[in-house]
């Protein structure tokens, strides 16, 4: 057991180390953007202040190191990144890192819920489709997946607000909790859960569609493998065969799919959080776009990339925990 934990830690550390060049590359591209984009922070600040004399601009540039040569600026930028200093958001008058961390929690909650929802729906509907292969539930599920691929998520979110909040009044349309209700304990959990239902469902929709198709295909494929015949010959019930033998094997590709789709989900959360006024990174991104706060946007991009890297390592760990054939080496 201890040995396994040791292997696990070593594996995670090695994978993190392997991801460093990619993160470095992303940081470089970020830096290029700052300098390629027309105008710099001084222009933005000066524009804010209204009048801007050349002397004032020069003073600003000196203060923020914007007058240094490009390669010096690059080294300074990289040095700051190492200490997680992502610069200063002039619009919010706060350090970018502080803003990002303050908004990280709700986004993680939303994403995790969306992924869990997508995976469980994927299992449920995928198994259903595979059991009814080429009969009407199967066709219905396939058509549903096809439409889900084509639906703009933010629009679906708006339509759900119309239906479930405006017309039926079942679910709250925005925010993460009821303002001013001051709930505590379980009431609060329940309140957040109610606010979470719509955005998480919509955000998880693409992934659900992917998982359903994947699950259906692997259930059908694995159902024909020899070890399933063995299980049947042991006298197990169809239920036990489906859940103990087929499903466990069919889940493996789903784990990989989560890793592949996590960056799409992060992108989707920008739109979904905007639609549902969810107080997370996505909404922060929207505000940053609205206010042309490039520093904040770039910090966000960097944080999102780190999240993708971490999720990928996590899915690899989960895969290896389920599948003994691939060692943690």
């Amino acid at each position: 057991m201890n040995r396994n934990a040791y292997d696990l830690i070593r594996f995670v550390l090695r994978r993190l180390l392997q991801s460093l060049p990619v993160l470095l590359g992303i940081a470089t591209i970020n830096f290029l953007f700052v300098n390629l984009a027309p105008g710099d922070a001084a222009d933005v600040l000066a524009g804010e202040a209204g009048a801007a004399s050349p002397e004032f601009m020069a003073a600003l540039r000196e203060r923020y190191g914007l007058d240094e040569p490009l390669h010096v600026q690059f080294l300074v930028y990289m040095g700051k990144l190492l200490t997680f200093d992502l610069g200063y958001s002039f619009r919010f008058s706060r350090p970018v890192t502080e803003l990002l961390l303050g908004n990280l929690g709700p986004t993680l909650l939303l994403m995790t819920t969306a992924i869990l929802f997508a995976c469980s729906m994927g299992v449920f509907l995928g198994v259903l489709a595979a059991r009814c292969v080429n009969r009407w539930p199967d066709y219905l599920i396939s058509v549903g997946a096809l439409i889900a691929y084509a639906t703009p998520v933010f629009w679906l979110g708006l339509m759900m607000i119309v239906l479930f909040s405006v017309k039926l009044g079942w679910l709250p349309s925005s925010g993460m909790q009821s303002i001013g209700a001051g709930y505590t304990g379980w009431r609060k959990v329940l309140d957040v859960a109610q606010h979470l239902i719509m955005p998480a469902t919509v955000l998880g929709m693409y992934l659900t569609a992917f998982q359903v198709r994947l699950m259906r295909a692997s259930m059908l494929e694995i159902g024909e493998q020899d070890f399933v015949t063995t299980a049947r010959s042991k006298g197990l019930s169809e239920q036990a065969i489906a859940y103990r033998h087929v499903l466990r094997n069919a889940i493996l590709p789903m784990v990989t799919m989560v890793g592949l789709q996590v960056s799409a989900i992060l992108g989707g959360s920008v739109l979904i959080e905007t639609v549902f006024a969810w107080p997370g990174l996505g909404r922060l991104a929207y505000n940053a776009v609205f206010q042309r706060d490039l520093n904040l946007l770039l910090g966000l991009l960097f944080l999102c990339s780190i999240m993708v890297v971490v999720t990928n390592i996590l899915t690899e760990v989960v895969y290896r925990l389920i599948d003994p054939r691939i060692p943690l080496k």
Partner: protein
Amino acid sequence: MNPVLSISDLRARLRGPDPHAFVIDGLSLQVGRGEVVALVGESGSGKTMTAYSVLRLLPSAIQLVGGEILLGGQDVVGMEARQLREVRGTLASIIFQEPMTSLNPLMTIERQIAEMLLTHGKTTRQTAPARVIELLELVRMPDARTRARQYPHSLSGGLRQRAMIALALACEPQILIADEPTTALDVTIQQQVMKLLLDLRDQLGMAILLITHDLGVVAEVADRVAVMYAGRIVEEGPVVDLLEAPRHPYTAGLLACLPDVAEAGGRLVEIPGLPPKPGSIREGCRFAPRCPSATDLCTRVSPETRIEAGRAIACHHPRMPA
């Protein structure tokens, strides 16, 4: 003496538009207590499907359409799902050709065997691990305690087949169906596994229905042989008689292909032509197109099975006993 397994007039066909696409076409076969019966034939003759049908494990593309399979006196064909599950593993169990794929890759050997024991209430959760190790020692698994906790991928083919045999014997079935159990293994391992099966038969007294195309193995281990062609038994009899004096032209052809019947690893090869596809021959003897002694009668009338001196044969023109 009641046979352990008695199949009579079994028919199974491919699902699809052709109602005559029989994979098993009126097959009858009996296996007595403690007996080793070999079912021999080319690939495509329907022997594996016969093995699968005994426990109703046929793939969904194939449908049982008639006949009777008595397993310990109970009819498997008409059995309800619940009763069928009770029979599987306890009255009869099966091992497969490919030990690499017949075990679940995500479960330890111990769990897979314990699952069988627990399903049939042969042990409790507490005593299961000890019983599993007993079983693994029974099949002479080296280092059974360690192997029990391993996953199939860390075992060699021969060891996996031993684990599979331990699994099959876990509930002490009256008959073990072995579908080409050694084909996928190395030659030296093949002999070890065959010997193990025979020893276990002597030790536990179960019957074995051995599906094979390896006449060398048949000569060594079987008590009786049934030769299968195109979904039917064409000839059946005690192993020595049948191999020394085949009466059906097909059996004779099979034996003629062997350089030396006694030589281990001898395989059935070249008889001119191929076995017919299910449903392609509707009238007459299925073997007629490839048969050296076929006559007009053979292409018109399907031969009945006759029993002569402890041997069964389905041929219009059997070879004379020597």
